[in-house]
């Protein structure tokens, strides 16, 4: 059975949100707010407006229970966020701009001050806001997975091992000779090989788990992975 993920908990709550589903949604929003910020910026809004918009969007999303309108059968958190933000930009932003000065909005603790710095480091190109959103989504997801992995290894007192073996997640064996790593880590070559094997296995589990947080069924995990691969393949 597919374990209840944050997104399935949120979806299951639907029109009657429970405290549990509200916390789950808040966690998801905090983890994946930056792709939306990049989307808003790419749509042509200035940095201050984009910050206000992102903040306002999440505040309204949490307060007004927009999840109740989400399609439970086709729902991925990524698609839902993008659709909701598009609707928000098209219909509600003008109204919000007049109201937001009222100060009755509860803000989500987002690190918006660092967001613009991150956005300005993005390569300038002619990609669509949707593509920017999806690419940033994939990058955010990967960062989150690598951070979790780093945390796991650090907890076990193997932070140095993770740091040394991390490039083996992708690199060919020629670029990361096990013999060199073994000498660097004071391990045998066989032990390094085993550690790399475990690292990759754990990484796959972590990645699928992280994606599982944002999709509604296990069948969608691999499909979402393929989708993100195609997004990154487009550049």
């Amino acid at each position: 059975m597919f374990p209840a993920t944050q997104w399935t908990v949120v979806l299951a709550a639907g029109g009657t949100p429970s405290p549990e589903s509200a916390v789950a949604l808040e966690h998801l929003c905090q983890a994946y707010w930056y792709p939306l910020y990049a989307f808003v910026r790419r749509s042509g809004h200035s940095p201050p407006d984009a910050q206000d918009l992102a903040q306002e969007f999440f505040a309204r999303l949490l307060e007004h229970n927009w999840i109740a309108h989400a399609d439970r059968h086709k729902g991925r958190f990524r698609s839902f966020l993008l659709m909701a933000m598009r609707r928000f930009l098209a219909k509600e932003w003008d109204k919000v701009r007049t109201l937001k000065r009222g100060g009755h909005v509860q803000f989500l603790p987002l690190q918006l001050d660092t967001a613009e710095g991150r956005y300005t480091r993005e390569p300038a190109d002619t990609r669509t806001p949707e593509h920017v959103f999806e690419k940033q989504w994939a990058l955010t997801l990967l960062e989150s997975v690598l951070n979790r992995m780093r945390g796991h290894y650090a907890q076990e007192g193997k932070g140095t091992l993770f740091h040394a073996l991390e490039p083996c997640l992708i690199g060919s064996r020629e670029s990361q000779p096990y013999a060199m790593l073994a000498a660097q880590l004071g391990m045998t070559e066989g032990a390094v090989k085993m550690a790399v094997c475990r690292l990759r296995e754990r990484y796959r589990e972590c990645l699928k788990e992280e994606i599982g947080r944002t999709v509604a069924s296990p069948a969608e995990v691999d499909e979402e992975l393929r989708h993100l691969f195609r997004v990154l393949d487009r550049g």
Binding site: E122, L139, L146, I170, F229, L232
Partner: protein, 267 residues
């Protein structure tokens, strides 16, 4: 000056926002595991699009010294055309490789090495290499043209004919037994010969079924499944010693072309 970093996996330039300095595309691919179909929209690891063979007209434009007589066939790694060398008035086989393949810097070196190895081989069972090189962005081999049946059918046709013959024999035997049991006139067929024919048919059919005769061609063992590392070579398994087991080291081969032609000669 800062040099642009490249991913050791896909050789693409790494963006500054790559998570932990690792290629995001390869990270996603690592999550999928090995041997997973990425999907029809993907261009594959080396960024190649699926190979579409150039038309004979396009090839003719690139090779003015040749008269392209026709298209012979296409595989995953190239297309072969029948052509005539105008200056020498001889029929040759022109093999072209996928256009995008030359972008891989390691490929040009490997291509030259294999061509040199093939050029050193001189055997009636190995096609002779006349020329190799690059025309525009297209890598090519100009080789001896060997007329004949496609290698794949060499393996399949004899099996098909033998199966058909045995099925007929089996049907005759069954029919004769039925006729004998119903006391109908059976001519000169006596019970002993019918029994022997029936037994032989059963034994041969059993042997052929065991050898995979009745399995679809796609499921027949190939070099790949016997532990080979090269591209799929349909039908070649017929020429292996039965004692050869999967994973055992085989002699090195100059190229798939040489291998195929040697097999044809053995036939």
């Amino acid at each position: 000056m800062e040099t642009m970093r490249k991913c050791p996996g896909c050789q693409r330039a790494l963006a500054p926002d790559a998570p932990d300095g690792l290629c995001p595309k390869c990270l996603i691919k690592a999550g999928l595991g090995t041997g997973v179909d990425i999907g029809p929209d993907s261009r594959g690891e080396s960024g190649r699009t699926p190979f579409v063979a150039p038309t004979p007209e396009e090839v003719a434009r690139l090779f003015p010294q040749l008269e392209i007589l026709g298209f012979i066939g296409q595989g995953g790694m190239g297309a072969v055309y029948r052509a005539r060398q105008k200056a020498l008035d001889r029929v040759v086989a022109l093999k072209t490789l996928p256009p995008g393949i030359g972008k891989d810097p390691a490929f040009a070196e490997r291509f030259t090495r294999e061509a040199k190895a093939l050029a050193r081989l001189n055997h009636p069972g190995v096609v002779t290499l006349y020329e190799f090189g690059q025309a525009d962005s297209l890598f090519f081999f100009l080789m001896e043209y060997v007329d004949g049946m496609v290698i794949h059918w060499h393996g399949v046709l004899p099996r098909f004919v033998m199966t058909l013959a045995l099925l007929i024999l089996l049907l005759v035997a069954v029919g004769a037994i039925s006729a004998y049991r119903s006391s109908a006139p059976v001519g000169r067929i006596d019970s002993q010969s019918v029994g022997i024919a029936f037994m032989l048919a059963v034994i041969f059919t059993g042997i052929l079924v065991r050898r995979g005769l009745t399995t679809p061609v796609e499921q027949l063992p190939t070099l790949d499944r016997l532990g080979g590392t090269g591209p799929k070579q349909g039908g070649i398994v017929l020429f292996h010693r039965p004692s050869r087991k999967a994973g055992r080291q085989r002699p090195s081969r100059a190229s798939s072309t040489a291998r195929t032609t040697t097999s044809r000669t053995r036939l």
